[in-house]
């Protein structure tokens, strides 16, 4: 692997913008799409404003839609001008001066040859030193054709500078297709050149799991089966399927949320301390967790996984349609929009501790959090208070309102020995001046810097699929246990999910 181009620039030393990316060109496939306009270019603009984008930077957008360079820039600008309160035209013009657009089919080899020539020319003109990133922001059905053409055009070679490929989610539709995609990508790119995105990992609080666990000494001693009763990871959305019905009908909640985001959060909570803070050391530990998921079988899946689909209901006082009434959805669809899964990790540390993972659409509120529920004290002295004292919970909120809360019991002032549970709260927004950055900002910058820590390695993607496939398979080949829809939009999901908790003191958190 060639060493990333280091900036021998002594003036950079000590500056808070010390993580500035090296000169490079970013090629976005599927640039006419939503992600480019709403997320990627705004993230790049933020990096530019923070002086983290190199002076020598080119962006080339490629997709089939025939639009001029001018129109491409205008579309990007129009979005930002509306989204950013203090938008400066002059700054935008300067930022976008090296933005170009190539219209062409993803399977047309001539487009790749033209791209290669254009990149060489831009390297020469703008000093981008042969460093390239190819960002696949298309639907996954064209990933393979783009990658093999990049290979054939010699664009994956790293003879002049680095060449990296960023692959958007979903990485495969199931285990087989993920394996196949891995084979195809690795025929062209080496693993160190491949950046599989899971934008959850770009979120500040997700990264904070690592700092919280491994920079503090008070959590690690109790972070195990002796002290933890169970762990709940929740990603709830109030929105319905919206305009994504086409994708969602074939994906469902497990592919959309579990295989990637929820499993990644679980890994960061459950993993052993890595030996170093380097990408592969961390990914090795995450992989071990995915491999330790106790396999589901035909029998266990029935009581360890609960599925649901929303029917009509009310959200914020407004009537909303059921999933089957949404545009583009089969009126008899059995696609799950709710899933709750109980996972056991067969590791020394977590033996017998259930990890309760839950995600759904059309729940009362949009929240993502992980809650570590600790055991009750061994001898409950305050028996009169059984209803007001609760076991400790450490809650790590990922969105919105990122922060950490610790619930603990305390005495109510007065003559009686009365206890009550209170919250100790830490909020990012109020304790740090700097707002948290958008996930894509961090991930794009890391990729330019060659830091793959927050990206998924190929074996991780496969292990996650392998663990989930029995549930997916069972759900796709059997009728729901209770006919869909089985929960009303705006409620906390099907009642069956409560039964899987098994212990009277365990409740799904009303997040």
């Amino acid at each position: 692997m060639p060493t990333p181009v280091l900036l021998e620039n002594p003036l950079r030393q000590g500056l808070s913008s010390g993580r500035t990316a090296p000169p490079c060109s970013l090629v976005i496939y599927g640039a006419s799409g939503d992600l480019t306009v709403r997320k990627l270019v705004p993230a790049l603009f933020e990096l530019y404003e923070k002086h983290l984008l190199p002076v020598s930077f080119n962006l080339i957008g490629i997709s089939r839609s025939v639009i001029s360079d001018e129109d491409f820039r205008k579309k990007l600008k129009d979005f930002l001008a509306k989204a950013k309160p203090q938008f400066s035209e002059a700054v935008w013009n300067s930022f976008s001066q090296n933005f170009h657009y190539i219209a062409g089919g993803y399977d047309d080899f001539k487009v790749y040859q033209a791209l290669s020539a254009r990149l060489d020319e831009l390297d020469e003109k703008n000093g981008t030193m042969g460093n390239r990133i190819f960002y696949l922001s298309t639907p996954p059905n064209v990933f393979e054709v783009i990658i093999s053409n990049l290979g054939a055009a010699g664009l994956a070679k790293e003879d002049k500078g680095f060449s990296r490929v960023v692959i958007e989610k979903p990485f495969g539709h199931d285990l087989e297709s993920a394996k196949e995609l891995n084979v195809k990508v690795r025929e062209v790119f080496k693993e160190h050149q491949i950046y599989r995105i899971d934008h959850y990992l770009g979120k500040e609080t997700v990264q904070n799991f690592l700092v919280m666990r491994f920079a503090n000494s008070i959590f690690e001693p109790i972070w195990n089966r002796r002290h933890v009763d169970h762990i709940q990871i929740t990603a709830s959305e109030d929105l319905g399927v919206g305009t994504r019905a086409g994708y969602y009908e074939s994906a469902g909640i497990l592919r959309d949320m579990f295989q990637n985001h929820l499993f990644q959060v679980m890994c960061l909570i459950a993993m052993e301390p890595p030996v170093t803070f380097e990408a592969n050391a961390i990914r090795d530990e995450k992989l071990k967790i995915l491999q330790a998921i106790r396999p589901f079988d035909e029998h266990s899946v029935k009581h360890l996984a609960v599925r649901g689909q929303y029917g009509p209901g009310f959200l914020a006082g407004q009537k909303v349609p059921g999933y089957r009434e949404e545009e583009g959805v089969n009126p008899k669809s059995n696609t799950p929009t709710y899933a709750a899964i109980k996972i056991f990790l067969d590791t020394w540390r977590w033996h017998g501790v259930p990890f309760l993972l839950r995600s759904a659409k059309r729940l009362p509120k949009r929240t993502t959090e992980a809650a570590i529920q600790f055991k009750e004290p061994p001898n409950l002295l305050f028996k009169n208070n059984l209803n007001t004292l609760t076991p400790n919970v450490l809650i790590i909120r990922i969105q919105p309102d990122e922060g950490i809360t610790l619930k603990f019991d305390t005495k109510v002032p007065g003559m009686t020995m009365e206890g009550r549970t209170v919250n100790m709260d830490f909020r990012y927004g109020t304790s740090f001046a700097e707002g948290t950055s958008e996930a894509y900002e961090r991930l794009l910058l890391d990729c330019m810097l060659g830091d793959a820590t927050l990206f998924i390695r190929g074996d991780e993607a496969e292990a996650a699929w392998a663990a989930l496939m029995p549930v997916i398979h069972h759900w796709e080949t059997t009728e729901p246990e209770t006919p869909f829809p089985n929960y009303e939009a705006g409620t906390w999901g099907p009642v069956e999910a409560d039964n899987m908790l098994e212990r009277p003191w365990r409740h799904w958190r009303k997040v």
Binding site: G14, L15, S17, S88, T430
Partner: protein, 372 residues
């Protein structure tokens, strides 16, 4: 307000501030302390200014803020205190965050020994930022004790009435006298944006031009002292291995000469007309190189006060040009940025040492002067 107050009185009043009352109790307010900040104001008027700035900084770094200022009148009580609460985000009851401010108004001679009292009302286990807005004293008991106990001392060299003397002192004795306290200068934070703009001109292939620099021109507002420009020159020198072999300066000049690996480097400091309220700013920096392909790198304030233009010409041909946002930083912004990082900044330390080789300072003994 009482006379002869004790730390317990203050703590009691602070606790009283946060006793749940009516609606506030229902909505649950949070007290958050991320830091202690002790600020000194030289008089009544300065007190108002400093208090206003603290009120803004608190939005970014909730904490216990203590303002110390001399009484306006010798007939006033030796020491009086005022406590007040600061709450943010009132619009969102879920996020109401509160912290507090203590104002200590004392007779000058009481202030001399007020440090112990100040220590007793700090929130334990949190960093202590000490903000001293004036010139560097040679000896002042309050400053001396605070500087030794604080985590970090903030000065603002832009506000020094005698910048050569004060910066000279900082460079000469800070690290010996207060080895455990980080020194920070608000002026340095303001300059860091110029540093970032200049640094990014030399990334990648362009780094090679750093070794060929022959002349640097820094434009600053007419009528102001070019201290910030001197800092910028000292930073370039410290980072690029240049030395100042000329005699130390007792007054600002319009030309500095450094010796670098490539030979002599000239730094020209050029006053340009500027409105009074902006005179202390840097307006443009130009860096010229010599060699096979001469290059010129410039960063210039645009007509639009919110942007600057960075460009480079190699062999008299435009290599690139870009416009970036450049918002003016007020004192509260500067402190809010500064409080984010706790690590000592080695580049600032080196730059200050370099300033020490450029400026003379009044406490040098004849011996030292002779040795130089």
């Amino acid at each position: 307000m009482t006379s002869d107050p004790s730390a317990q009185d203050i703590e009691r009043d602070l606790t009283g501030l946060w006793k749940p009352q009516g609606e506030i109790q229902a909505s649950g307010l949070r007290r958050i302390y991320t830091t202690n900040l002790v600020a000194y104001a030289s008089d009544h008027e300065d007190g108002y200014r400093v208090e206003g700035i603290l009120g803004d900084v608190v939005q970014y770094h909730p904490g216990r803020y203590i303002l110390v200022r001399p009484a306006a009148d010798t007939t006033e009580a030796p020491l009086r205190y005022y406590v007040s609460g600061r709450c943010l985000s009132w619009s969102d009851p879920e996020k109401r965050v509160c912290c507090d401010m203590v104002k200590l108004v004392a007779q000058k001679e009481v202030i001399e020994n007020l440090y112990g009292f100040v220590f007793s009302i700090l929130v334990p286990d949190l960093p202590v930022e000490f903000w001293w807005p004036g010139d560097m004293p040679y000896y002042n008991s309050f400053f001396e004790h605070m500087a030794k106990q604080a985590t970090r001392v903030w000065v603002d060299s832009a506000k020094f009435k005698d910048p050569i003397q004060s910066v000279g002192r900082l460079a000469a004795f800070w690290h010996n006298r207060y080895p455990r306290t980080t020194l920070a200068d608000m002026n340095w934070i303001r300059i860091q944006r110029w540093q970032a703009l200049l640094a990014e001109l030399f990334d990648g292939d362009w780094a090679k031009y750093l070794k060929q620099i022959k002349q640097v021109t820094i434009e600053y507002g007419e009528g102001s002292t070019p201290l910030r420009s001197f800092y910028l020159a000292a930073w370039l020198a410290a980072q690029l291995g240049w030395r100042h072999h000329q005699p130390r300066l007792a007054a600002f000049t319009d030309r500095l000469v450094f010796q670098g690996p490539q030979g002599e480097i000239e730094v020209l400091l050029k006053p340009v007309p500027a409105p009074d309220d902006r005179a202390d700013r840097i307006f443009a920096v130009g860096i010229m190189t010599e060699g096979e392909s001469p290059a010129l790198f410039t960063v210039v304030r645009d007509e639009d006060p919110h942007t600057v233009i960075a460009r480079s010409e190699i062999n008299h041909k435009l290599a690139f040009s870009r416009v970036v946002t450049f918002e003016h930083l007020h004192s509260d912004d500067v402190l809010a940025i500064g409080f984010k990082h706790y690590e000592a900044d080695p580049v600032w330390k080196r730059t200050l040492q370099m300033m020490g080789t450029i400026l003379i300072h009044p406490d040098m003994t004849l011996e030292q002067k002779k040795q130089d």
